[in-house]
Amino acid sequence: MSASLTPPSGDELPTPVVQNRRWIPRLVWVVPIAAAVIGISLLIKNWENAGPRITISFLSGEGVQVGKTLVKYRDVTVGRVSAVGLSADHQTVLVSADLSKDAASLLKADTQFWIVRPRIGVGSVSGLSTLLSGVYIGLKTGTATLSESHFMGLENPPALSHGPHGRELQLHAARAGSLAIGAPVYFRQFQVGRVIDENLLPDGSTRVSVFVEAPYDGFLKPETRFWNASGIDVRLGADGLNVQTESLAAVLAGGLAFDDGPTEAVSAAANMPGEEFTLYKNEAEAMAPPDGDPRYIRMRFAQALRGLDVGAPIEFVGVNIGSVVAMDLGYERQDKTFPVIVTAKVYPHRMGQAYSVLAAQGHTESEETLAAFVGTLVSRGLRAQPRSASLLTGKLYIALDFLPASPRAAFDASIRPLELPTVNGTFQQLEAGVGRLVKKINDLPLEQIAADLHTDLNDLHETLSELHAHVLPNAVDTLSALHRTLDSADRTLDVESPLQRGLAETLSESRSTLQAVREFADYLDRHPDALLRGRRPEKMPQRPAAALSTEAKP
């Protein structure tokens, strides 16, 4: 329909059908209202979910990134680092983190935070996932009732981050050995816990905190003994080579072991307050009955003691009762000698039953009574003697033994520490014997013997050349002559030789001659008269009978 210049009147045009529906477009306002409601509800939810903001101070913020580094509790994200800054004195790094609302209850005054980084130890590998994902902040909730929003971060993760049930113990030792945090704790080769802390106390000793996990803490008793199970215990005993170790990890990373100690130890261990134990150097030491207080003795040896070390055992009648603690060189003014002064620590308790008997007799009441008792032992021949512990190593130990044959020795019971008389070691006597033997060998006239032997040999040589020059050619001639003789003899004796044949003939001749002679003799025997009358003819057929009859009637 084209528009004309003159507008048509309203009557000519059709009128639209009127409909009244003006409320529908107004529904569009639902949209912005709904959007606003959703937005506001989100804001409220966010605000409600917003947990506390905490600040943790670390010495180093290595690897911590704003907005990326997470705070995790039991490997579950509970927060995120929102800011990293320096403290006012630039000494620490302040890490601010927004925690989720449900994590607020984890924040106690003693909650611990630490940065989890990959750690590779012999005993364990941890935090390996942080190699790729970056570090995160670990959290270990505390037990305090107060809550806090500012925390001091730990530089090293606590050994137990998720607080399993169990018992924490303190072990005291002179030295911790090669223990690392996280080193295993064994009970009969079974890992039951871990070392969680090591401290050097102001007095120089070490305190090792260990944690024994829940079902196994029941094995802890007052008499329990702990010892350092690091390394390999190789023992060559009468029953052969014995290698003992708790585990390969303990060999490398160190470890502790515990077991029930001897029951007599209860009284000694019971005075340890609470959860504190002594850490022994090794199992043998831990299991030994308590040593009691050491007593010191001193010995002067008039001989060199090469091979005697500090720590060398002191044996009393074959029982190890102590060790050498110091060696010194003295000087005797009178005879201008340098004796070796050995100080040793002995534990009288190690004498066991003997000690109890002695104690019952009152010999151990005081230093004086003990010294007096030692004096009587010395008068009975108690002497200290260095002895060779092993011929291979040349190591020495000191034996306290009764040597009644030894010369008398003075004993001053008032000197402290007690000074025991000494005798020289058996190895020196052995040495002297060997020396004498060597001297004897030295004294032999070896050169003379050698010279004599030389002339004798020369003589022999001459004799032999003589033999060679003169005797041997003659002998050869003789032998060839003999050979010829034997040849001719051989020919002569041959069966076909004329001599042999003639001999055979002669023999047969002589055999027949002898037969004739025998017949003649027989005849003569029967007819002795024939010698006079000559031979008579015989009746040939009955000759034997006739002969008989003639014999019967002589």
């Binding site: 528009a3 309203g10 000519e12 639209p16 059908v17 709904a34 990326k68 790729l132 970056g134």
Partner: protein, 205 residues
Amino acid sequence: MTVLRQSLELGLTLCRTCGLAVSRASLESDGRCPRCQSRIEHRTPFSTEMTLAWLIAGIVLYIPANLLPVMHTSGLLGEADSTILGGIFEFWRSGDWDIALLIFIASVAVPFTKFIAIGLLLVTVRNKSRWQQHQRTALYRIVEFIGYWSMLDVIVVALTSALMQFQVLGTAEPRAGIAFFCGVVVVTMLSALSFDPRLIWDQRV
């Protein structure tokens, strides 16, 4: 200058479907074309009101769209929630300024342009202003045209989420923010559609 007369002055209204010119018997009321039964409106009814409503909805939605993370990525290198602005900064810092610029235009510049442009149109129409009518009409066309380009962000997130599913190595998941952003785009497009450009030319009498 020739005076161009409007149908209003002539008492006429065109059916937009079949082109039937009907008399403007009732100017404010709606009606149906007697020939084709299509709706006949002299001006889109409640155009400014609806445009304003959609615009407000868009602005409201734009706030959570920017505050909430649009995507959550997790992989070997950790996991992260990224917002639109955070992603732009990330790209800018890592040197991909072109991508940063693209995302900035698509997800910040375009929505803001739309908010301002539609707002301007609404204000001028309400005042029946005669100021820059041609330019304002052009502006309206531009707003209509650029509307869907904002969907670029939504498509990026959708594609990334669909493609990046390598379990341990890395996964990307959409987060609530992108839904809000999608809402912003849709609502502003509806706002632009609700606007009747003929209003620009309705001058004060």
